[in-house]
Symmetry: C2
Subunit: 226 residues, 2 copies
DNA sequence: CTTCATCTGTAGCATTTGCCACAGTTTTGT
DNA sequence: ACAAAACTGTGGCAAATGCTACAGATGAAG
C-alpha cells in the first residue's frame, strides 16, 4: 500500500500509525456497486487502492454523462468535482475495488499526535490534484477542436509523443475513445477509415501508426482550378 | 493584498515578512504583453493580483486555442497545465495587470525562518487548485454535450441556478461564450435565434431568461401525427 | 465447447454545424 | 467628438456529424 503516490516517502510503519491517527476507513466494493454519491459528506476524499471505477452524473434530462475514469492511485470526492449544480454525482465500481476514505482536514491540518509526515502527505496530495488538473486541461484541449478529425489527430499525436516512435496501441477501447473525444462512435470509425484511405495513418483495432505530415484540415477545398 | 484567497488568514504584517522569505517577485504588465511562456521555469507559480489575462497554446498547425481565462486571485503556471506536449503555452495580459511570482517549493516546504503560516498557505493553495479543477470539470461537462443546443442550454441552466430566478446576464461576451462552448459563433447565434423562435428562452445581448421546460432534444422528431 | 456480452467495422440519410461574407451596433481609445 | 476596434446579428451553402441498424470479431463466463 505504501507504493501509492499519495503515500510516497512514508514508511509502512509510519503509515499504519497515521491511518489510525486520521480515522481512515478502508472498504471493498463489488463490480457495479455505488462507491460514493456526492451529496451529504463534505470533504471526504476517496483513494482508489485497486480496481477501476468511474464518475458520472445524472443530467437534467435524465441522461447520464461520464465525467471521469479512475484507476489505482486516483482520488475522487466532491472537492474535485463541482459543489454546486443540482445534479447527482455517482462513483461506481467498474470492477471489484478497494477504496480508502479519509477526511481532507485530517490530512492538511497537523494532528495532535506526533505524526510529522503530514507535510509530506499534503505535498503528495497537491501533486496528485495537480496532475488531475493537467489531465482535465488536456482533455479540454482535445474537446475544443471543432472537427472529429482534429480531435482524433490531436489525441493520436499526443499518444505518439508519449509512447515513442513507431506504432503504438492506445489504452482505451475505441468505444471509450469516442466518448473521451466527445464524438459519436460511428463517426470516429468513419474518420479513421477516411484517414486510412488518405494514407495519413495505419491502424488495426487499438493499434495505430502515424505517417509524417498529417492532414489537419479537410474543409476549405479551395484548391479547385480556374 | 491580504484579501487574496491564497493569503487568507494571514496578516498583512506576517505576509510581507513571508513574501521576503520566499523570494516573491511582483511585476506589472501592460495589456497585450506576454506574462509567462511555459518552457524553462519549472515550478513557478503566478498569482494574478489585479487585471485579466488568459492562457492559450499554439497548436501543431499553428492555430491557437484559448485554454483558460484568469481574473484576480487566479493561479497559473506549468504545474497547472501540461508539462509534456510540445506545444507552446503563453499567458497574455488582457488588461494591465499585476502578477506575483513564487516558487512552489517555497510555499509547500517549511522554511528555516520562523514563518509558521506556511501550512495555512498550503491549505489555501490547495483550495484554489481544487476550485480550478472544479471549473475544468464543469467545462468538460459542457463540451461533452453533442449539440450546440445542449451545450448552450447546459450553460444557461447552470447560470440560472447561480444567479437565482428571473432573467440574468452572463459574464462573457457572446463571442467568448462561443469559444468557451467550443462552437462557431454564428452557429451559437443561430441556435439562440431558433430557441427564441421556439419560445424556450428570451434574450437580448447578454441578457437571458429561460422558460419552464426546455427542449433539449431537437432530433428524433418522431412526434409527427398519424 | 457453448453462450452471452462487448467491441469493431460499415452504410445510408437527415440534421446540424462550420465557414464565409456582410451590416448595424456598441465600446474603446485618442 | 471622432475614429477604430470589437461585438451582435443574419443568411446561404457545402461539409461534417449524429443517428440508426446491422454483421462479424473478440473475449469472458459457465
Amino acid at each position: 500500500m505504501q507504493h501509492l503516490s499519495i503515500f510516497n516517502g512514508i514508511s509502512q510503519e509510519e503509515l499504519s500509525r497515521m491511518l489510525r491517527c486520521f480515522h481512515a476507513v478502508q472498504k471493498t466494493f463489488r463490480r457495479g456497486q455505488q462507491i460514493q454519491t456526492y451529496s451529504s459528506s463534505l470533504k471526504k476524499i476517496g483513494i482508489l487502492l485497486s480496481g477501476k471505477a468511474h464518475l458520472y452524473c445524472v443530467d437534467f434530462d435524465g441522461s447520464y454523462t461520464l465525467l471521469e475514469r479512475f484507476g489505482p492511485d486516483d482520488l475522487f470526492g466532491e472537492m474535485f468535482s463541482l459543489p454546486l449544480w443540482g445534479l447527482e454525482y455517482i462513483v461506481e465500481a467498474d470492477t471489484d475495488c478497494q477504496v480508502l476514505f479519509v477526511l481532507y482536514e485530517d490530512i492538511i491540518k497537523r494532528c495532535p499526535n506526533a505524526c510529522d509526515h503530514h507535510s509530506q502527505l499534503s505535498d503528495n496530495l497537491f501533486q496528485i490534484i495537480t496532475r488531475k488538473s493537467q489531465a482535465l486541461s488536456l482533455r479540454i484541449n482535445l474537446l475544443t477542436a471543432r472537427t472529429v478529425r482534429q480531435r482524433l489527430l490531436h489525441y493520436l499525436t499526443y499518444q505518439q509523443k508519449l509512447k515513442g516512435e513507431g506504432s503504438f496501441s492506445i489504452d482505451m477501447s475505441l468505444t471509450e475513445l469516442a466518448e473521451y473525444l466527445g464524438v459519436d462512435r460511428s463517426s470516429l470509425m468513419r474518420e479513421i477509415r477516411v484517414l486510412k484511405s488518405e494514407g495519413a495513418l495505419a491502424s488495426k483495432g487499438r493499434l495505430f501508426s502515424l505517417s509524417g505530415n498529417l492532414p489537419w484540415q479537410t474543409r476549405k477545398k479551395n484548391g479547385g482550378s480556374s
